[in-house]
C-alpha cells in the first residue's frame, strides 16, 4: 500500500492524473532547495546592519534593494526563508507526531482515553490559536526560532489528532482489521502493522495542513512583534518593514519579496494538499 | 388508436463513463393507452429507470438522450424547448421517484413542497392552495397536519405517499412510478401501491410502473414490458405473460418468483447481465439463454407482434 512499493510506471501514471500534487510538490521542492542552498550562495555580511546605503530601490547591485537599516534585502530573504520553513516543518512534525499518537490512541482504544482526548481537542478548537499563542509568546523573555517552533507546535497537534482519530475509527471497522484481530494479533502490533500503513495518505494530508497552519501562525505572531527579534524570518521581515514605516514610505522592495515568497509557499502547500485530497478521496471511493 | 396517449419510438440513452459509452437504453418502443397501467420490469441495469427518467427528459450529464421520440398526444417531448418541457413536468407527466427517503427537501415543510409545485405551474396561492394541499394529502390517506411537518418527521411510507400527492397535484395524464415501493416493508408496500392505484383511477390517468418485482406487476398492472440490457424483449397483457411467457428471459424471471404453494430450491438466472459498453453481438441474452440456437449469436432479434397484443424479441418465435 505504501507509495514506495509501487513501480515507477504506476507512480508516473499517478503523477499524470494528479497534476495538483505534482505541481505543489515541485514548487515546495524549489523553495526547500532555495532554503538549503541559498545561504551558501550569498554573503552573510550583506545582511548586516549598515552593510550598504539604506533604502535603495532595486538595482543591478541589489536585486531587491536595501532596507532602512542598510541590509541587502535579497540576502535577508535568502537567510529568512530556511528559518520560517524550519518553524513550519518542526511545528508540523511535532504536531503530526503527537497528533498521530493521540489520534490512534483515541480512535483505537476508545472509552475514557477517547473521551479525554476528544474533549480536550474540542475545547482547544474553540480557543482562537492566536490568542493562546500571543499569551504564551508574550511571556517568553527571549524568543528564538526554536522556541517559536515549540510555541506554535503546542497547538499544532489538534487538527491532526481529530483527522487521524476519525480515520482510525473507520479503519478499525474494516474487514481486514477484524480478521487480524481474530487471528490473535494484539493491540500494539495491530496498530503498527495494519492500521498505521493505511493511514499514510491521511497522515500526509494532515502534515501538509499542520505545516500550513504553523507557518501562518508563526508569521502572524512575528508580524505582531512576538517573534525572535534577532533572527531573520519572513514574518520578522514584514514586522520590521511595518515598524520602520516601509509601507507608507513606499519601500515596496522590502516587504514585497517576502510576501511573494510566502504566497509561493502557501500556494505550494495548497496544491499539495489538494493533490493529497484527491488521493484520499479516491481511496474512499474505491473502498466504499 | 384513439385511446393512445403516449408513443415511445426507438428511445436511445447512453452514459459517458471512464470505461466507455454505456448504452443504457437501446431502441425501446412502446405505447401507453389512456387510463392504462403499464409495467416496465427488469433486473438492475436493464435500463428501466433510465427509460422512465428519459420520458421526462430528466437525464443529466454524463447521460444523454441519443435518439428517438416520446409522443405525448402527438407532441414530441424530446423536441420541446427546455422551458416548454419544464411547464409540462408534473402538469402533464409526473414522477413518483424511487427512494422517497431522500427525495423530499429536508429543510422545507411538506406543505411548502406541495405549494411550490402548484405555484410553479399555475400561479395560484393563498387560501385556495391551502385547501388544495389538504385535499391532496387526504387523497393519499394522510392527515392535514402533515403539511406543517418536515420530511424527517415522517415514516418511509408516509414520505412515499407525499411523493404521490406531489405527482398528482396538477392532475397529470401520465404518472411514472419508479420503483415506488422498493425501500419499504411488505405491509407498507401494499398500502402505498393501493394508494397509487386509487388516485390513478380517480384521476383517469395512465401509470407506468417501473420495477423488478414480477409479483407486484402481476397484481397491479394491465400490461407489462420486460427489459433486458436496454431492450424490450417482451410486451403484453400481464395475465397472459405470467401464465404463458414467450421469451426465455421472461420465463426464468417468472420462475424465480417463489410461490407459497410449493417448496423447492430458489431458482435464479445463471450468469451475469452483459456489459453495456461492449455488448455481445446478436441477442443480448444469448450467453445465458437455456434455449439458445446458433442464430442467436449472430442476428439481433426484433420486437414483433407474434400474436394479437403479444410482442416478443426472440428467434424462437
Amino acid at each position: 500500500m505504501a507509495f514506495a512499493s509501487l513501480s515507477l510506471g504506476t507512480r508516473l501514471e499517478a503523477g499524470r492524473s494528479n497534476p495538483a500534487l505534482v505541481a505543489g510538490l515541485a514548487l515546495l521542492g524549489l523553495v526547500i532547495l532555495a532554503a538549503l542552498v541559498g545561504p551558501w550562495l550569498i554573503n552573510p555580511e550583506d545582511a548586516r546592519v549598515g552593510a550598504f546605503a539604506p533604502s535603495r530601490p532595486p538595482s543591478a547591485a541589489h536585486i531587491f534593494g536595501t532596507d532602512t537599516q542598510g541590509r541587502d534585502v535579497l540576502a535577508v530573504l535568502v537567510l529568512a526563508n530556511p528559518e520560517t520553513l524550519k518553524v513550519g516543518f518542526i511545528a508540523g512534525t511535532v504536531g503530526l507526531g503527537i497528533g498521530t499518537l493521540l489520534g490512534l490512541a483515541s480512535g483505537y482504544f476508545g472509552g475514557i482515553t477517547d473521551a479525554v482526548i476528544r474533549t480536550t481537542a474540542d475545547v482547544l478548537t474553540t480557543i482562537p490559536g492566536v490568542a493562546m499563542l500571543v499569551l504564551v509568546a508574550t511571556f517568553i523573555k527571549t524568543m528564538t526560532v526554536g522556541l517559536m517552533a515549540l510555541v506554535v507546535a503546542s497547538l499544532a497537534w489538534i487538527y491532526p489528532t481529530r483527522a487521524i482519530r476519525a480515520q482510525t475509527l473507520s479503519l478499525r471497522e474494516r474487514a481486514y482489521i477484524q480478521v487480524a484481530r481474530l487471528n490473535g494479533v494484539g493491540g500494539l502490533e495491530l496498530v503498527l502493522r495494519e492500521i498505521l500503513p493505511n493511514l499514510l495518505p491521511y497522515t500526509a494530508a494532515s502534515f501538509v495542513s499542520a505545516v500550513s497552519h504553523a507557518i501562518i501562525a508563526t508569521i502572524g505572531l512575528e508580524a505582531l512583534g512576538l517573534g525572535p527579534q534577532n533572527a531573520f524570518t519572513l514574518g520578522m521581515m514584514i514586522y520590521w518593514s511595518q515598524f520602520y514605516g516601509a509601507i507608507v514610505r513606499g519601500l515596496w522592495w522590502w516587504w514585497g519579496p517576502p510576501i511573494l515568497l510566502i504566497l509561493v509557499i502557501f500556494v505550494a502547500l495548497l496544491l499539495t494538499s489538494a493533490g493529497l485530497d484527491r488521493i484520499v478521496n479516491t481511496r474512499i471511493r474505491s473502498a466504499a | 388508436m384513439s385511446a393512445d396517449l403516449l408513443h415511445v419510438r426507438d428511445l436511445r440513452v447512453s452514459y459517458a463513463s471512464p470505461a466507455g459509452e454505456v448504452r443504457a437504453v437501446e431502441g425501446v418502443s412502446f405505447t401507453l393507452r389512456a387510463g392504462e397501467r403499464l409495467g416496465l420490469a427488469g433486473e438492475s441495469g436493464s435500463g428501466k429507470s433510465t427509460t422512465a427518467l428519459a420520458l421526462m427528459r430528466l437525464i443529466r450529464p454524463p447521460g444523454r438522450i441519443n435518439g428517438g421520440q416520446v409522443l405525448l398526444n402527438g407532441m414530441d417531448l424530446l423536441a420541446l424547448s427546455d422551458g416548454a418541457m419544464r411547464g409540462l413536468r408534473c402538469a402533464a407527466i409526473s414522477l413518483v421517484p424511487q427512494g422517497a427517503m431522500n427525495s423530499l427537501n429536508p429543510v422545507l415543510r411538506i406543505g411548502h413542497q406541495l405549494a411550490d409545485t402548484i405555484a410553479a405551474h399555475d400561479d395560484s396561492r393563498g387560501a385556495a392552495t391551502e385547501n388544495r394541499i389538504s385535499d391532496l394529502l387526504e387523497a393519499v390517506g394522510l392527515e392535514r397536519r402533515v403539511a406543517r411537518m418536515y420530511p424527517h418527521e415522517l415514516s418511509g411510507g408516509m414520505k412515499q405517499r407525499v411523493c404521490i400527492a406531489i405527482a398528482i397535484s396538477l392532475r397529470p395524464r401520465v404518472i411514472i412510478a419508479d420503483e415506488p415501493t422498493s425501500a419499504l416493508d411488505v405491509v407498507v408496500q401494499r398500502q402505498v401501491i393501493e394508494t397509487l392505484g386509487t388516485v390513478q383511477r380517480n384521476l383517469g390517468a395512465s401509470i407506468i410502473l417501473v420495477g423488478h418485482d414480477m409479483g407486484l406487476m402481476a397484481q397491479f398492472v394491465d400490461r407489462v414490458g420486460v427489459l433486458y440490457a436496454g431492450r424490450l424483449v417482451e410486451l403484453g397483457p400481464v395475465r397472459d405473460i405470467m401464465l404463458d411467457p414467450l421469451h426465455p428471459y421472461t420465463q426464468l424471471l417468472i420462475a424465480s418468483v417463489p410461490t407459497l404453494e410449493s417448496r423447492g430450491v430458489f431458482k435464479g438466472i445463471p450468469g451475469l447481465p452483459p456489459s453495456l459498453v461492449n455488448p455481445p453481438p446478436g441477442c443480448p441474452f444469448h450467453p445465458r439463454c437455456p434455449k439458445v440456437v446458433d442464430r442467436c449469436a449472430a442476428d439481433m432479434p426484433t420486437l414483433r407482434e407474434v400474436r394479437p397484443g403479444r410482442w416478443v424479441a426472440c428467434h424462437l418465435h
Binding site: 480557543i127 492566536v130 508580524a223 509601507i247 | 429536508p106
Partner: protein
C-alpha cells in the same frame, strides 16, 4: 431544541471560559521574572537611572496589584475582579483601566470584522453556489484558480498589498486610521462617510481574502447537494431553475457552511487583528500590537482573555442558532 442541548452547549462554554481564564492567570506567573520589576527597570533605564530605590517601588506596586499574596488568594481575587469586569490597570498608560482601553477599541473591531466577515461569507457562498451550478457559463470556471489563490493568502498580507496600491501609489483611500485625522466623532453623515472611507481598505482585505475560502467550500458542498435525490424530484416537479438553485440547492449547502464559519471563527478573528495593525485601525488588534511593543502585560492578558471569551460566546450563540436553520438537528436531540 431541548433544554438538554442548550445546557450541554452552555457547559462547554463555561468550561472554555474557565480554562482560558485559569490559563491566563497561570502562564504569566509561570514565567521567570516579574513584569512589574521588568517594567520599572525599563523605565529606570530609559530615564537615566534617576528614579531611586526601585525595590521599594516594586514592593509598593506589588502590594497595589495584590501580587504579594499567595497564589490561591490571588486566584480568588482574580475571579472577583473579573466578575466586576475589572481586568486590572494598563501598565503603560496607568491609571487607565484595561477594561476602558478595550471598550474604546472594541466597537471598531466588531464593526469592521463583523461586517466584512458577513459580506465575505455572503458573496463567497453565492459565488461558490453559482460555480457549482451546471448551467453557469463555463467561462465563469476560470474564476476558480483565482479564488484558490485568494484563499491561500493571509488577510494581512493582502492588506499590505492593498495599502500600497490603493493608498500610497494611487491615493484613492486613506492609508490608515479609523477616521479622518483630527476629526471629532459625531453622529452625522460627514463622520459616517469618513469612517466608511477609512474602513474600506481593511474591509476589502478581509473580504477578498475570505471570499476564496467560502466560495471554494460552498462549491464543494453544492456539488454534493446537487447529486441528491431531492434535486431530481425538484426538477421533476417543473420548478424554475432559480427556485431549485436557491431553495433546494443553496439552502441545503448553507448548513455545513455555517458550521464551518463557527469553527473557523478563531482563525477569522486572528486574521482581522493583523489587518488592523497594517492599517493602524483603532481596534482591539492595534491595541494588542501596541501593548506588545510596550510590554504592557496586563493589557495583553486582558485582550487575549476578551478574544477567547468572545469567540466562545459567539460559538455558543451559533450553536443555538443552528437548530433553527436545520430542522433535522432539533429533532435528533429530542
Amino acid at each position: 431544541m431541548t433544554p438538554g442541548y442548550v445546557v450541554r452547549r452552555f457547559g462547554v462554554l463555561v468550561l472554555v471560559v474557565f480554562l482560558a481564564t485559569t490559563v491566563n492567570f497561570i502562564i504569566p506567573r509561570l514565567t521567570p521574572g516579574d513584569p512589574i520589576e521588568q517594567k520599572l527597570s525599563q523605565l529606570v533605564a530609559t530615564s537615566g537611572g534617576q528614579i531611586g530605590d526601585v525595590t521599594a517601588m516594586v514592593e509598593s506596586y506589588r502590594k497595589r496589584f495584590g501580587l504579594d499574596q499567595p497564589w490561591h488568594v490571588q486566584y480568588v481575587n482574580y475571579w472577583i475582579a473579573l466578575a466586576r469586569l475589572d481586568l486590572g490597570f494598563s501598565l503603560e498608560n496607568f491609571p487607565e483601566r484595561v477594561s476602558d482601553a478595550i471598550a474604546a477599541a472594541l466597537p471598531w473591531t466588531v464593526g469592521l470584522l463583523g461586517l466584512s466577515t458577513l459580506i465575505a461569507f455572503g458573496i463567497g457562498s453565492l459565488l461558490g453556489g453559482l460555480l457549482a451550478w451546471p448551467r453557469t457559463p463555463p467561462g465563469a470556471r476560470a474564476a476558480i484558480p483565482l479564488l484558490m489563490l485568494l484563499s491561500a493568502v493571509p488577510y494581512f498580507l493582502l492588506g499590505i498589498i492593498l495599502v500600497f496600491l490603493l493608498a500610497i501609489k494611487v491615493k484613492l483611500f486613506p492609508a490608515g486610521g479609523g477616521y479622518p485625522f483630527g476629526a471629532i466623532l459625531r453622529f452625522d453623515l460627514a463622520t459616517g462617510v469618513g469612517i466608511v472611507h477609512h474602513a474600506a481598505l481593511p474591509a476589502l482585505s478581509i473580504i477578498l481574502a475570505g471570499i476564496g475560502t467560502w466560495a471554494l467550500g460552498m462549491r464543494g458542498m453544492m456539488i454534493s447537494v446537487l447529486g441528491e435525490d431531492y434535486i431530481t424530484l425538484a426538477e421533476a416537479k417543473g420548478l424554475s431553475e432559480r427556485r431549485i438553485f436557491l431553495w433546494y440547492g443553496l439552502r441545503n449547502a448553507l448548513l455545513p457552511q455555517v458550521t464551518t464559519l463557527a469553527l473557523t471563527l478563531g482563525h477569522v478573528v486572528s486574521g482581522a487583528i493583523l489587518v488592523e495593525v497594517i492599517f493602524s485601525y483603532p481596534g482591539v488588534g492595534l491595541k494588542l500590537y501596541h501593548a506588545i511593543l510596550a510590554k504592557d502585560y496586563f493589557l495583553i492578558q486582558g485582550i487575549v482573555l476578551l478574544l477567547i471569551v468572545s469567540i466562545a460566546v459567539t460559538m455558543f450563540i451559533m450553536d443555538l442558532i443552528y437548530p433553527l436553520i436545520d430542522p433535522r438537528i432539533a429533532y435528533r436531540r429530542r
